[in-house]
Amino acid sequence: MSATTGSARQSGAGPGTGRRADAAGATRRSGTGPRHPLNIRIFGRNPLGWLFSAPYLVFVIAIFAYPLGFAIYMSFFDYFFAAPGAHVNRPFVGFENFVQVFQDPQVLQSFVNVGVFLVINVPLTVVLSLVLATALNKVVRARTFLRVSYYVPYVTASVAVVGVWLFLFSHDGLVNQILGPLAPHPSWLSNAALAMPTIAIFVTWKQLGFYILLYLAALQNVPNELYESAATDGAGRVRAFFSVTVPGVRPATVLVLLLSTVVGANLFTEPYLLTGGGGPNGASASPVLVMYQQGIEQGHPGYAAAIGIVLVIGVLIIAWLQNRFAGGRES
């Protein structure tokens, strides 16, 4: 019922009936409150919007807002698993979980590992995706084929491509066969110094297509006139790239920095499968892998939630710094 009155009112005020709309607007402004039914004052002109969005709002509250609060709550307790419905007393421990995060060598090691990962992955992602997108943007022949080849790793399951990388980078795999005497000992994924860089290269390769896509969208917004005037000023291709393209796609660069950092901090599948659970000796364990081991395998979800919170605060600080230094003044 209220839905039909809502839509009728809206169609009356539509742009097609200018004079009536003006009149309606005037009465709305002069006659406050009482002219409108209560439901319109609370829910707006078209309460149906609430109804249509209700499932999504319930989803956001149940899957994001509530668990977020629950994570913070849990991190202050010695939380443990119990049968559903059972009443158990889980002791409040204050900041003990957080103190432990900074004293646990396994956790600190995983933060260092993900730092190594980000230092390799993020700059490589930004540079390669911008250069490849710039080249792809101008190419005319075989455009579709080239784009599809760069996107394919992104759309494929990590678990599937991990299989090939294990094969390629195994002790007597194709990569070592080609390198011959230059092959590292121990091999890539079982070498404590090389395991994390290899994972970083893998993830860069896997995700690059998505960032190329973002840069291609951004490149459409760089006005061609800027390239033309750069050319008249005698700037070469390289010069034009640095003085027109790079500043022109700066908002996209900020986005790529942010997303690749967030995705990198979420690293789990690759160390779990490529290096058999963060080996050798924890040299490639990521924080999320440690969260899984601590929270679910060993049954300390409160502690795991605390690791997650510290990790996210770290990501927020990095994102803030990136925005500060790469964002420029206008954004």
Partner: protein, 288 residues
């Protein structure tokens, strides 16, 4: 536009454009080779890691690896589980995402701005923060472990899809909706008869990008499914890689055979519909 492009094109010297072609082709090979090698490796009866092994050798070809992996992890049941998981997410995203996108673009209601801001914000909430509480809630408290609903719930409505739908509905001229409203159509009818037919390309884009998520997802279904008969293919293949593979005769062959089966549906779907995987749509949705 095309005239300008051509002019820019002639600005490039021949040598530079050849160089660009070479760089892009080498790049494409680096990106495609592992997929080619995946297929070759899955067909080798003896793993051949030499350079010669990168080329098909008729004496060393077999379909046995597919049978071998199928005997250890039921490929069909894995595909069916992945399919149900993905279909659940797709249905939730399309039905509720369309409703929310329509409400955000077309209807005037209080809270619209806040809801849109939430849809943007939700995309940067890192999953690692939600991982543990969602596991405790869904798998422990609600008892939804080894259950399709438990797998689907955290992904039920893709927020990127909501934003893409909103973006498309905003482009539909307001007059169309007003005309239909004067004819007495209700909002649901308007959405079904007027709005959805006009945004059909968005529907394909959304289905494509939503499909990739659950089909490839590993961590969440890995946490909530312990029973082999309930595991999506990504999870059963991962368990095979980490637990079983090393004890078999040709571990790489069977792992790669499983990888081909897992990758094929998405890659085929993606190549068939690649023109809907357009930069502007997805780019604008991420930027908001």
């Amino acid at each position: 536009m095309s005239r300008r492009n051509r002019r820019i094109g002639t600005d490039l010297s021949r040598g530079q454009s050849v160089l660009r072609g070479i760089v892009l082709t080498i790049g494409a090979i680096v990106f495609l080779f592992p997929f080619y090698y995946m297929i070759i490796g899955s067909l080798q009866s003896e793993p051949d890691t030499t350079l010669a092994g990168a080329f098909p050798n008729p004496a060393n070809l077999t379909g046995h690896n597919y049978a071998a992996i199928n005997s250890r992890i039921n490929l069909l049941s894995g595909l069916v589980n992945s399919g149900i998981f993905t279909a659940g997410v797709l249905i939730g995203t399309v039905v509720f995402g369309l409703l929310a996108g329509y409400a955000l673009a077309v209807l005037q209601w209080r809270g619209r701005g806040v809801t849109f801001a939430l849809a943007l914000l939700v995309q940067v909430v890192p999953f690692q923060l939600l991982l543990i509480p969602l596991y405790v809630l869904i798998a422990r408290n609600y008892g939804l472990a080894d259950n399709y609903l438990g797998m689907i719930l955290p992904f039920a409505i893709n927020s990127t899809a909501v934003i893409i739908f909103r973006q498309y509905f905003l482009q539909v001229p307001k007059e169309l909706f007003d005309a239909a409203r004067i004819d007495g159509a209700g909002e649901l009818r308007l959405l079904w008869r007027v709005a959805i037919p006009l945004v059909r390309p968005a529907l394909v884009t959304v289905i494509l990008i939503t499909f990739i998520g659950p089909w490839n997802e590993f961590l969440w279904p890995f946490l909530v499914t312990k029973e082999a008969s309930m595991q999506p293919l990504a999870v059963s293949l991962a368990n095979y890689i980490s637990n079983v593979a090393s004890s078999t005769a040709n571990p790489f062959g069977s792992v790669l055979a499983g990888a081909v089966v897992l990758a094929a549906p998405v890659v085929i779907l993606f190549i068939a519909f690649q023109r809907y995987f357009i930069s502007t749509d997805i780019g604008s949705s991420v930027k908001g």
